[in-house]
């Protein structure tokens, strides 16, 4: 338990069975959110964090799983929740987490051709990637 939410720390392989049980047996029918946390000094480097809500019991649960920087892959949850599709796209472009089985991981908030994953801690805040090159201003 952390600040009123049940937290489950699970291995990446057991994500699918655990999420499936949460939905089928415990009624967590609303997929709220998926995001990641970057811990550059730690191995494995990333936490993938899920939030679920039960519209029957009005409780939330947080699922956390750790993935390695070399292979940041977890299973997709699109087969359980339609809304996972869009949110996994965001998490993929921001942190580079790959969702195995999600066939639509195109950039969403960023643009086609953006290099890097901006919410990783090693991405400098000031880096510029103009899509259209800057023009010379002649005075």
């Amino acid at each position: 338990m952390a600040h009123g939410i049940l937290v489950l720390q699970i291995a990446a392989e057991s994500l699918m069975p655990v999420a499936g049980r949460l939905k089928q047996e415990f009624g967590f029918d609303l997929f709220l959110d998926v995001t990641a946390t970057d811990w550059p000094q730690r191995r494995p480097r990333f936490d993938v964090v899920y939030h679920f809500y039960s519209t029957r019991d009005f409780v939330r649960v947080r699922l956390k799983t750790r993935v390695e920087e070399a292979d940041p892959t977890v299973d997709t949850l699109v087969t359980l929740y339609g809304s996972a599709r869009y949110m996994e796209r965001e998490c993929h472009e921001m942190y580079g987490i790959r969702f195995r089985g999600n066939d639509d991981l195109r950039p969403l908030l960023l643009y086609e051709g953006f290099v890097g994953h901006p919410l990783r801690k090693d991405y400098p805040k000031q880096r510029e990637q103009p899509l259209v090159p800057y023009r010379d201003v002649k005075r």
Binding site: A2, H3, G4, I5, D29, L30, F31, L32, D33, T35, T37, D38, V49, H51, Y53, T55, F58, R60, R62, Y81, G82, S83, R85, Y86, M87, E90, M94, D104, R106, P107, L108, L109, L110, Y111, E112, G113, P118, L119, Y123, K125, L131, V132, P133, R135, D136, V137, K138
Partner: protein
């Protein structure tokens, strides 16, 4: 100065499809800047005649790196950024974010602050719903109804500006309290505005509710059922319009909602008309709540007496060294938030507005993640667009109330 030719400019998006499924269908691009959709959103649609076969919705044109920017500000100085998420009801964002930080710090609000936050959240919700309904009606050609509703919204904005100093982005929430107490006469003016609102909202009901044009364009258009709405992550008025009485204010009471008496309006079919009506009824409920809260407000402090987050009294800063150091530390280093992670969700005007914060201790957040309802809704909006006429896209989109600031962050 010469522009590169248009054909060499890279396309910022890659559509999910470039060829139609059915013979004779056409791919059209709508947006990102289209006069009939409020909000910068791009929809690539396959249409067969006037019928929409499938759509591919692209957002992100208002992305400004909110979450990245937050990681280099103190817990306090990022509040103005939070305001700019849902800029139609900025106060709800403030309070949801502050509550998440207060959870991490273990702070209990004063009763006056709790009631005032609830009151202002409901007041913002009214403004947000007025904006949404007004814009949706105007896009269908109902200019009079638009002007009635926006008149009231402007009264509300000016009134909140009296309190906070800004019309739209107020930056009024503080960790552990509020920026300042109510000015004199503020509550009297509030009563006046609520009374005037009754008149204007009644006029709009009279103009629109049984209007043939309005019903034809909204009834049985953009229908979604409860199970499907939950599967696609819909919350807030859209979920309630399907008939599910799900409201965080009732289900997981926060602030003062547990002490208030109110109903959850629900729709029947989950179509555009229901979404319009749920919002109009929610305005009534919010008004009812505000009147109860005015009676509940008692004099008292608005910020907690906690030196970790509340700035010391200005007079003390000028005369006592402890208060001066305290002030300096809070401004320069930020409130010291213990390590941990918290998720706090409020019922925003559009749905569940959640903040997931990670702290490693210290004055700067390690991570601020916003679960914004508009963003999630954009992931499921194709369920409401596909299969209807191309012209239905405008009222359906209006009834969803996509807010770019919140969607694209």
């Amino acid at each position: 100065m010469s522009l590169p030719p248009l054909t060499t400019l890279p396309n910022p998006i890659r559509p999910a499809f470039t060829k139609g499924l059915t013979p004779g269908s056409v791919i059209v691009n709508i947006g990102p800047s289209h006069p009939a959709t409020h909000g910068t959103i791009q929809i690539v649609a396959e249409i067969s005649g006037e019928r929409v076969v499938r759509t591919d919705v692209h957002c992100g044109y208002l992305h400004r790196g909110f979450e990245k920017e937050c990681e280099s500000h103190t817990w306090h100085t990022l509040i103005p950024y939070v305001d700019r998420l849902n800029y139609c009801s900025a106060l709800i964002n403030d309070f949801a974010y502050c509550e998440a930080v207060e959870k991490l710090m273990g702070i209990e609000l004063t009763p006056r602050c709790r009631h005032l936050r609830t009151l202002l959240a409901e007041y913002s919700r009214i403004a947000d719903h007025l904006t949404c309904v007004a814009a949706a009606l105007m896009e269908m050609g109902a200019m009079t109804a638009f002007l009635y509703l926006v008149t009231i919204r402007d009264y509300i904005y000016e009134h909140i500006a009296d309190l906070t100093g800004a019309r739209v982005t107020h930056s009024y929430g503080r960790i552990g309290g509020l920026a300042r107490d109510l000015p004199d006469g503020w509550l009297q003016r509030l009563e006046e505005i609520l009374d005037q609102m009754d008149t204007f909202v009644d006029r709009v009901h009279g103009l629109v509710d049984r209007n043939r044009i309005f019903i034809d364009r909204t009834r049985d258009v953009g229908v979604i059922g409860t199970t499907e709405a939950i599967n696609w992550g819909f919350t807030g008025p859209i979920l309630r319009s399907t008939g599910a009485p799900r409201d965080l204010r009732k289900d997981t009471p926060y602030l003062s909602y547990g002490e208030l008496e109110f109903e959850i309006p629900v729709g029947i079919k989950g179509d555009n008309y229901d979404r319009y009506y749920v919002r109009m009824r929610e305005i009534d409920e919010s008004k009812h709540m505000i009147r109860q809260l005015i009676d509940m407000l008692q004099p008292g402090p608005i910020s907690v007496d906690d030196r970790r987050c509340t700035l010391p009294d200005k007079q003390a800063v000028y005369t006592e060294i402890e208060a001066l150091i305290n002030h300096f530390k809070l401004i320069m280093e930020g409130p010291q938030v213990p390590a941990g992670e918290a998720y706090s969700a409020h019922e925003g005007a559009n749905g569940e507005l959640g903040f997931y914060l990670v702290s490693v201790g210290g004055g700067v957040p390690w991570k601020v993640h916003c679960r914004s309802p508009s963003f999630v809704h954009m992931g499921g909006v194709h369920r409401m667009l596909d299969g209807y006429q191309l012209a239905d896209l405008v009222p359906t989109f209006g009834s969803i109330n996509m807010i770019g600031g919140e969607c694209d962050r």
